[in-house]
Amino acid sequence: MAASAPGAAPETEPETEPETEQTSFREEIRAAMREALLADDRVFLMGEDVGGYGGAFGVSLGLVEEFGPDRIRDTPLSESGFVGAGIGAAVAGMRPIVEIMTVNFSLLALDQILNNAATLLHMSGGQVSVPVVIRMTTGAGRQLAAQHSHSLEGWYAGIPGIRVLSPGTLQDARYMLAPALADPDPVVIFEHGSLYNATGPTAPRPESFDIVSAAVRRTGRDVSLISHGGSLPKVLAAAEALAADGVSAEVVDLRSLRPLDGATIAASVARTHRAVVVDEGWRTGGLAAEIAARIAELAFYDLDAPVERVCGAEVPVPYPKHLEDAAIPQVADIVAAARRAVG
């Protein structure tokens, strides 16, 4: 299905993309998986249509030809079954990368993720490690309507026992996987569907690289724009627009949604005294709520204005473009919220 996402046509895009120094999220994630598969026999990729089809979004295109159907393993439509099998294989010492086609379908595997992956280590008194990496596409923006447009990062970020990552840059798309696989605990990686085709220059291999700290992608004085993943480009564009307008916005990219890097967030707010949190998930009880609450706890006396939340509208995402656009954060909404914050 996903393959029909206009924005995510794996088969057409790669061809048309300049293959020189430019690269895309899709290619970087594929390169990361390829490297992991080459480096460690225990690593394998499992999910619906990851093999012959190349992945619903074409992320694993070509891998089955190189690594074979055993390590690039197509699964039946059985989300709870194959995610649980990935968890079990990890318990047995493998390093599975389990791809859930989209976060929408991950609800069918949530029992396995919460009650087993996140819980086995503790229930067993430290005996059972679950070094599994679960990748899933998230987000709206391609007119896929109510059952294919969720952003449930906030729920996963609330589960003790797992690590949750949300790459928003090509470098993170490329280099977050290795440390995730090295983590003895379960790691969930969210890939925003609208980023797969995002291109840019290939990032150099970083000297040191962590998956725990947030990154300040742009420094500013007047307001902190805090976001991650698919919203990051919009936030950077908003910061640009605000600058043109004399408002100096700092952009904090969370990168890790669990654990949250409260120190970096608080430090930024301590500098700017104002915060806007941008997350595509539903506003009530979403990730933005936690970040707003944290800021109010960590930087209460630094805040000069209420924390602004720019979130998804609380509707099952509608199909028509004009309504979908209205349902998820747009650059203009971020700019407006920042203006309210700076008063």
Partner: protein
């Protein structure tokens, strides 16, 4: 209420045949021939509708995920012919054919593809979420297997209230691997629900061939293991499909509980727009195209009874009008974004 098996003509005519009926009916045609002509008309309408969707999608006029039914039309029209207006239908994201065969107005379906306020789901759903409660069409569901428990619930309500009617649920071969298929099959058989399970086995779940989805590829046999009547049908032959569906519906109405039909069919197009269809052998696709359900059924008609060219023109004209209407139709105002979230419009 008990009901007798209704003759074909008593069933809700499809829009296309409605259009046709204005033309003077060929006097020499038997009821049976008229019925088959109606099925051909319905298939032609679905085909014309979807071929137009391809153009509109390529032109960027309609968006989202579009899953074409082209090649599988005999299943929708054959099954629908066995259903009566007060039966219910639950479908998937590949449901243009089911909706049109059910009689959802072409204009409303096309407007939905456009996301217009005149769409059969007010434009909120798009291709994967066509609804028409007046016709008891309970929708496209884009979660594979997600419609199965809902269908069981519709059937349960009839069972509990003593209404003798059928709920028909369409789903694919891939859906049979989902836990929800298993849970629904067991519930339905355990509770003797008036549920018609129609598995459209088109041999692939996206890019995964049947034999890599299922350890036991004889899906009818798998279903039979729940203790319900189940058999496989040539899904390219509308007559065979209708006959099987009637037998199943009669069995259900007779109180024999759920029935499972494995419709052996094939999609001529890729899983969805832009799927490059790398995983299927072109020769295989060609072999199936030779069994295109439309000419297959037309060939069964008495010589001269079916002028496919003429009938296609009529279907195309119906689609043309639907496109024109959709183009002209209004979209919902952005202020109404929160409409339909709850009855309070919370």
């Amino acid at each position: 209420m008990s009901r007798a098996k209704k003759p074909p003509q008593s069933r809700k005519p499809s829009p296309a045949s409605a259009a046709e009926s204005e033309a003077p009916a060929e006097p020499v045609l038997s009821e049976e021939t008229k019925h088959l002509l109606e099925l051909v008309d319905q298939m032609l309408l679905i085909r014309a509708f979807e071929e137009r969707c391809v153009e509109l999608y390529s032109a960027g006029t309609i968006r989202g995920f579009i899953h074409l039914y082209i090649g599988e039309e005999a299943v929708a029209v054959g099954v629908n012919a066995a259903l009566s207006p007060d039966d219910a239908v639950v479908s998937t994201y590949r449901e243009h054919g089911h909706a049109l065969a059910r009689g959802v107005p072409v204009e409303a379906v096309m407007a939905e593809m456009y996301g217009k306020a005149t769409g059969c789901s007010h434009g909120r759903g798009g291709s994967m979420h066509l609804f028409d409660v007046e016709r008891r069409f309970y929708g496209g569901n884009a979660i594979v297997g997600g419609g199965l428990p809902i269908a069981a619930g519709l059937a349960l309500a009839d069972r509990m209230t003593g209404r003798n009617r059928v709920t028909c649920c369409f789903f694919g071969d891939g859906a049979v691997a989902e836990g929800e298929f298993h849970e629904t099959a067991n519930l339905a058989a355990l509770w003797d629900l008036p549920l018609l399970l129609v598995c459209e086995n088109n041999l692939y779940a996206m890019g995964t061939p049947l034999e890599r989805e299922h350890a036991q590829t004889d899906l009818a046999m798998r279903a039979a293991s729940y203790g319900m009547p189940a058999w496989a049908v040539d899904g390219m032959d509308a007559v065979a499909v209708e006959r099987a569906a009637r037998r199943a519906v009669d069995g259900i109405l007779a109180g024999n509980g759920p029935h499972f039909l494995e419709m052996r069919t094939y999609r001529f197009r890729a899983h969805s727009m832009y799927d490059p269809d790398r995983y299927r052998d072109k020769a295989e696709v060609e072999r199936w195209r030779e069994r295109d359900p439309i000419p297959l059924l037309a060939r069964r008609l008495p010589p001269g009874a079916a002028d496919l060219e003429e009938m296609t023109k009529r279907a195309t004209a119906v689609v043309d009008r639907a496109v024109a209407a959709a183009e002209a139709a209004p979209v919902e105002p952005v202020e109404d974004l929160y409409r339909f979230v709850s009855h309070e419009g919370s």
